[in-house]
Amino acid sequence: MASATALFSLIIALPLAGFLVIGIIGLFSENFRIKKQLIGTLASLLVLIPFLIAVYFFLNMNAGSEAQVFKLFTWMHVGDFSVDVAYRVDQLSILMTLVVTGVGFLIHLYSMGYMADDDAYWRFFAFLNLFIFSMLNLVLANNLLLLFLGWEGVGLCSYLLIGFWYSEMKNSAAAKKAFIYNRIGDFAFLIAMFMVFQTVGSLNFDVILNNLGEFSQTYIFTIGLLMFIGATGKSAQIPLFVWLPDAMAGPTPVSALIHAATMVTSGIYLISRLSPMYVLSPELMLIIAVIGALTAIVAATIAITQNDIKSVLAYSTISQLGYMFLALGAGGFTAALFHVVTHAFFKACLFLGSGSVINTMHHVEHELAHDGKKVDFDPQDMRNMGGLRKYMPSTYKTFMIATIAIAGIPPLAGFFSKDEILAVAANAGAGAFGGYMYTLLWVVGSITAFLTAFYMFRLTITTFHGEFKLGQRFKEAVGAEKYLHESPATMTIPLWTLAGLATIGGFLGVPNFIAETFTHGVAHINILHNWLSSITADYETVLSHGLEWVLMIVSIAIAITGALMAYRMYSNDQQEASDAKLAARFGGLYETWKDKYNVDEVYEGLIGNPVVKFSEKVLAVFDMKVVDGVVNATGGMVRLFGSLFRYVQTGVVSSYAFAYVIGVVVILYLMVM
């Protein structure tokens, strides 16, 4: 056991060591900073080793294994409050650890190529390592407070990495926005913890889940809701989602790792971890499902209208996260976690692919400038692209694979996980869990599935098919395609690995009914369900096999329709014409989508600005004029003291000291009298 603890603690300790070593040496040593190969390799290894250790732990576990708890030390202990730095290795946390370190390692590798020309290379890798450390604390913590350390820690890393190129105010503003929106969620999280401690006197998961009977129904609802509000911050759901699109200001590997694959799924992890508590409040489950479905469709409609490739992917992420919350709220915790995993594969692949594209476009901009042609174009705008498949075959193929996966076309990963989410929504509608509302949400989810296939193929086709359009848009850029090139192997290897995972990842969760239809008995072919069955409190399946088949066929039909429509509208370089057609067809609605529902403007206008204005024009003035004014108005005392002070302020310190000593003596004398 002792050696297991030592081995386990390496998982946590190595990324932290990477942050400290690279961060501190890098801060002080210029010689170290330029050793990029060394820094990148070191940082990547310090994620790869924890991944391998996690694999080792995973191989020594089975679906029935008891949770192993590794206590390192006591963190806080005052009065009756005690909390340990203790980690919990069970089926859920090891799954998350594998995703975090596995995808994390690939993205470290990718970054070695992507960030190769950046002067602050060392800082980037230090922060990435710190992120992995924080994320591991989040998923492995044995209690809510340590989870919260990871929770805020990933928020910090997100802040540091979104604002990585801080010389542009836009980037640091986006970083600050992300942190503050997350803090609003954390406020709710904190209060939920106070309520938990007040009720069961502990923040350990075991204690909470074994004593659910201690909580009143109101407390279950309130705590669950507060935790969910925390989750809407971290996982970018309505109403706190607006920070995520801005977060794309960070380097693209960051968008892939933090803002797609791992951090933003924390909320789903948290709720799954506490799933036995959540299922006790059907009202709350419905709220979660509604918010999830709403977020999914709102973000998907925005994604259709965007031209910035990262922006499309950002809204797509919000939308996919919405799906996961829909699944949670429909009692499909395993389905949600399944989508967390598959989404990590295909969305990381898409972001890294977009990074590969952006890198090349930057290269074009750079080379053009080198030729003396200053072309001011946005290297992330898909209207400037097109035809890239000829120049970037690996990027194209992997991007296409991931697109097919996210669109939900079988047999790629996204099909299985998305289909399962829609199935659990329909299941909740059919069961005694909330009735027709869930059926309605299934409809919303299905429409979103159509939109997903549509906007993803719009993006992929516009970017990679047709002709390279930069030359058509900017006269100076004619012939610029000669500067287009495929990215180096450090970048394409992670792309291919992720594309591979996005292809086969779905087989982790092949629905049982497929086998059951043929065997006419109970089958357990859904690997993920078997694996997580002791942790997630999923709703029971009440759908008949026949209905499940129908649902599956409907969802395939929807995905293929969306893809085909996009193909028809956007191939042959008709993106702008087709967008204009959409705009004409949907009128004001399309404008609303394009303006992102004006949520930012509303928040700023209704909350942000008024609070600042109020503080500035009312509170600060009140402080000076009223609170301080009362003091000043206490007679001419001030002026009196002022003149006294001028008189005694002779500048000779000894005279002050003398006066003071006399004062003390007088006071003491008075006392004694």
Binding site: F73, T74, M76, G79, Y166, S167, K176, I180, V612, R646
Partner: protein, 536 residues
């Protein structure tokens, strides 16, 4: 042996004054000041290591002088217990840092400047070690004088106005406290008997032997609490602080924020709780209201400041609001949180003032808009600034979180508040702290450099790094393993709370309904207690 050491630590800084007056060379003077404060810090370490944690409720390393007069029990009574140990150590720890912080920036009246800092050091240590309230009062006052001069002579442009405000305010509080103290001394003396008619021995005053009547208690609590609230400062008594902080030289701001403000919260715990327990408990919800207003109001006003020193000053109002909220919640979790938060605020706000001072020394402006893009020029300062900022924001893993979490968690379930709304409102401060600190950080450190002057900035030198590193290490240490610090006060806080509650119950049970004025009876709900007693 150890009690001698305690006195040595307290007076060693004072001893440096004649030494530095004797030498001519300015650098030598600074070295002497640095040497004595460093020695005092080193000498204070055995006090920490030998502290009997299990017996933290009993004052240790006791020095007990003779009575002034047989019938007047005022004596030189010094010692450390769980309430004071960490603040005492914080003060010795900051001593050398404070001296080093102004190594190059102060040249005017160097003798006086260093002497003032050294006097301040001794006085502050005296406040935390004193166990006789008159001695406490003398040190409390003693600490103000050097601060007047530090601000008034070595301060910024509007230093005189700031000094006057500081002076008037603190003097008003002190005088009221003095009146209260004299009254208390006679009252306690009468209770003590045995030929004594005046005593201010804290051990007696805080014990169950001395029970003070409800009427007297109310007035005395108000007198002492007012003085302490001004010092903290609790809203609405805070307006002296932005002036004083802004105009004070860096060293003055650091001592003011890190140490002197704590004398207020420390006083509330040391004096008001055990001596006036009923009043303390009855006023708790009122104090919580002021604390919560301070947290939110301080943060909002901090947010819109244009001067970064003023911003940090208002942030102190907000942070100290947390401490007060924790103290009056009166359970071990919250009070322990408050105690560690006093130390935390000393470290993180102290570090913020040091860092701001380093920027000020280079650019001679405190306006946020004059900066921008500094991160590119000063990476080391940026890293340190960032750690201090996030400590101040309460990021888990750093010190501020531990204090805030314990305070809010304890307050949430405080039976005295009997309402979670105080903690919930206080938690809003956690959001606001991120808003005002990160906004300031962004404007000062990030973005393009738009001011030519900032192009020439040089990063921190070795001295400046040496100042900040120990503070940052402590921020991390407390954040990761707070138990190494909270253990010193754990037992005493638990005992103090239960003994004060018991004493309060005893006092109210013995109170005679008919002898009390109507408002007192109603305020302390004496009828209810009597009817409960009757039932038994």
């Amino acid at each position: 042996m150890m009690e001698t050491l305690l006195n040595i630590v307290i007076y060693l800084p004072l001893l440096g004054i004649p030494m530095l007056l004797m030498v001519k060379n300015k650098t030598t003077k600074k070295w002497i000041a640095l040497l004595v404060t460093t020695l005092a810090f080193i000498a204070s370490l055995p006090l920490l290591f030998n502290f009997d944690v299990a017996a933290s409720g009993t004052p240790q390393y006791l020095t007990e002088g003779g009575r002034l007069i047989e019938s007047i029990d005022i004596k030189y009574l010094m010692g450390l217990d769980g309430l004071s140990l960490l603040l005492f150590m914080l003060t010795t720890f900051l001593g050398p840092i404070v001296i080093l912080s102004s190594w190059n920036s102060v040249d005017k009246h160097l003798d006086g400047y260093l002497s003032m800092l050294l006097i301040l050091q001794t006085a502050s240590l005296g406040v935390f070690a004193a166990l006789d309230l008159v001695v406490f009062y003398v040190f409390f006052e003693f600490s103000l004088i050097p601060m007047y001069f530090l601000i008034g002579i070595w301060g910024g442009v509007e230093r005189i106005q700031a000094t006057i405000k500081f002076f008037v305010y603190t003097m008003a509080g002190s005088l009221i406290m003095l009146v209260g103290l004299i009254y208390l001394g006679y009252d306690a003396g009468a209770a003590m008997g045995g030929g004594v008619n005046f005593t201010t021995d804290w051990r007696f005053l805080s014990s169950s032997l001395y029970q003070i009547g409800l009427v007297d208690q109310t007035y005395l609590f108000l007198a002492f609490a007012l003085a302490f609230c001004i010092k903290v400062p609790v809203f609405p008594f805070h307006t002296w602080l932005p002036y004083a902080h802004t105009e004070a030289p860096t060293a003055g701001s650091v001592v003011l924020a890190s140490i002197m403000l704590k004398m207020g919260t420390y006083g509330l715990l040391r004096v008001c709780l055990p001596i006036f327990p009923n009043a303390f408990m009855e006023f708790a919800p009122w104090m919580a209201v002021l604390a919560v207003i301070g947290i939110i109001y301080g943060a909002l006003v901090a947010m819109v400041q244009k001067d970064f020193k003023k911003l940090v000053a208002y942030s102190s109002v907000s942070h100290l609001g947390f401490v007060v909220l924790g103290l009056f919640a009166l359970n071990t979790v919250a009070v322990q949180g408050a105690l560690i938060q006093m130390v935390n605020h000393g470290l993180s706000t102290g570090a913020l003032f040091l860092i701001i001072g380093m920027l000020y020394e280079r650019r001679h402006t405190r306006l946020i808009k004059d900066y921008g893009g500094i991160a590119k020029k000063m990476p080391v300062l940026t890293a340190a600034f960032m750690v201090a900022t996030f400590a101040s924001i309460g990021l888990p893993g750093l010190n501020g979180f531990v204090g805030e979490f314990l305070i809010l968690n304890g307050s949430f379930s405080s039976t005295l508040y009997n309402n979670p709304v105080y903690a919930v409102l206080g938690t809003i401060g956690v959001i606001l702290a991120a808003v005002y600190m990160l906004w300031m950080f962004q404007r000062v450190m990030f973005g393009p450099i738009h001011n030519e002057e900032n192009e020439k900035l040089l990063d921190l030198d070795k001295r400046e790094i040496a100042l900040l590193v120990p503070m940052i290490l402590l921020m991390v240490w407390i954040g990761v393993h707070p138990i190494d610090f909270t253990k010193y006060s754990e037992n005493q806080v638990t005992e103090l709370i239960s003994s004060s509650q018991n004493k309060g119950t005893a006092i109210i049970e013995e109170a005679k309904r008919e002898e009390l004025p109507e408002w007192t009876a109603r305020f302390y709900e004496v009828d209810q207690v009597e009817s409960q007693l009757a039932e038994k």
